[in-house]
Amino acid sequence: MSAQFKGAGGRASDAPHAFQAIDAHAAYDGVPVLNGVSVDIPVGQTMAVLGPNGSGKSTLMRAMLGIVPLTSGEIRIHGTPLRRFRGWRRIGYVPQRLTAGGAVPATVREIVASGQVATRRRLSFTTKADRAAVDEALDTVGLSDRAGDAVRELSGGQQQRVLIARALAGRPDTFVMDEPMAGVDAENQRALAGAITRLRDRGSTVVLVLHELGPLEEVIERAVVLEHGRVVHDGEAPEATGECARPGHEHQHPHPDPNDPDPSPADTGTAAEMIRLEVPRRD
């Protein structure tokens, strides 16, 4: 982790950038979603994009990866304009999903290994190094013992960890994660926070779209807050206020995970807390 970036708010202009959005505009069906967003993300930074539903935070992230086209402005990845960027093996993307599986059953290992699609040549056989990378990714998210299980048999939180392991399997150095904590119970949230901390310590760039900081509060070096498609805050993570500041407050619905052994009462919070929970809507 580079201390110079802490709260630098993108002022470290001499450092190489993992992502640069320059006056980015995007729209869905003519409705503007991004209204001129400019953000520089230096290499090695752990950054959160925050904002209410519909603020454009997910769209910004997807635009940075070329999933959503810009109507005007520019995106650069590792210094290269998006259109000409070819170093996709450096990018690990964790989409916002409730489930990791498709319509056909697939094992945890199959899904995780598919994350190597950008690093492996066509018609190549799986090498020892490929397999080791998958093992390592599974180990990082703590799912080594579930490698042969069908993904659809795992809990939501475990499936989210599978998606993160898939992003890890190609050994990228730049991660983009869209609400990795949504719909994940408290214990899995801590496991995820641990995995993200290890990525940061390894020197990776980590960009997270989050509904709230939650257990990631200590990991995040910088927060960009969007509102109506514009940056309204860029710098230190904002202090949580009111209801959200209460320790242990959860926006998600934490539920005991039947697949995790011994869900201790401390993991799921008090019963009173669980009753008035807010579930983040997906934008």
Binding site: R120, L123, G148, S155, P256
Partner: protein
């Protein structure tokens, strides 16, 4: 069995059924994964127009069907992306255009009758000629090569198109490649089961294999096995019992599906008994206050 192989037409028919049973479930696995299970049906209808075109112009119907089905598949992919029509509506457009075009053109063909139409609608594996076998063989090799080279990328595409894009994969090219490969597969299978049932050989073996497997690779392998058993078994049964080969093949595949639903259920129950899971809420604990959700699902 020896009696079966005495006839030239049966040897050709068995060879065609073998190729079809081998190739269709593989491409079907990708289509099911991509939730485009009915794509084969749409393409089959388009292929009928191609067949009629071949009859009208006295060229090989399999060849013209291959060309028309390929163009139709590309058109459907473009319609889906460009007009933001949902996949099933785009398919419906294909269905009706294809079948209407086919019926119209066959009506215009001198010497073609309802029997000609029926043979393509429901299959006529016993009339497969030497030229057809060659075309079917070459198409099957082509499909196999495409899957060997692009299989890994197609898996990611069918799993999650957005992730495929974020990996820098050529999403549009791969989508069209999959649609075209499906189109060629449909044409291969068309002679055996007919355009109306062609999709069954792509989908039913996969649906059956899903019941018994937890991995993509195993599902595909099992689907191929089931596809081969139904196509070869169905054809043989039809020969000895004087039944319609296409219908026999499809019904056999459906019977295997029913069987695997039962077997899969028994296997899953046995598996659950072996590894008991702490599903019971702890009395008085916080789990008591939670609504019980399905395993592996998040219900907000």
């Amino acid at each position: 069995m020896t009696e079966l192989l005495q006839y030239e037409f049966m040897r050709r028919a068995l060879l065609a059924a073998l190729l079809v049973g081998l190739v269709t479930p593989i491409i079907g696995t990708f289509l099911v994964q991509r939730r485009l299970a009915l794509l084969g049906d749409g393409i089959g209808h388009i292929a009928l127009t191609g067949v009629a075109l071949g009859l009208l112009t006295s060229t090989s119907p399999v060849l013209t069907a291959a060309v028309t089905a390929t163009l139709g598949a590309i058109a459907m992919e473009l319609v889906r992306v460009r007009t933001r029509t949902s996949g099933d509506v785009a398919l419906a457009l294909l269905f009706y255009g294809g079948i209407a075009g086919g019926v119209l053109l066959i009506g215009m063909t001198p010497g073609a009758s309802n029997a000609t139409l029926t043979s393509f609608l429901f299959g006529s594996v016993s009339t497969v000629g030497e030229q057809d076998i060659w075309i079917v063989g070459v198409l099957a090799v082509g499909v196999a090569v495409v899957l060997a080279v692009f299989g890994r990328e197609l898996f990611v595409l069918c799993q999650d198109e957005e992730v495929a894009r974020a990996h820098g994969l050529p999403v549009r090219f791969l989508s069209i490649l999959l649609a075209v490969t499906a189109a060629l597969t449909v044409v291969i299978a068309m002679r055996v089961v007919g355009v109306l049932m062609v999709s069954a050989l792509m989908i039913v073996p996969v649906a059956a294999a899903q019941q018994l497997s937890r991995s993509f690779r195993v599902t595909m392998g099992l689907a191929v096995l089931i596809g081969l058993v139904s196509s070869l078994g169905g054809l043989t049964t039809a020969f000895y019992s004087d039944l319609s080969p296409g219908a026999t093949i499809v019904l056999l595949a459906l019977a295997i599906f029913c069987l695997s639903v039962v077997v899969g259920g028994v296997l899953r129950r046995a598996g659950r008994r072996r590894t008991p899971e702490p599903l019971q809420p702890v009395p008085g604990g916080p789990a008591d206050t939670m609504p019980q959700t399905d395993r592996g699902r998040v219900t907000p």
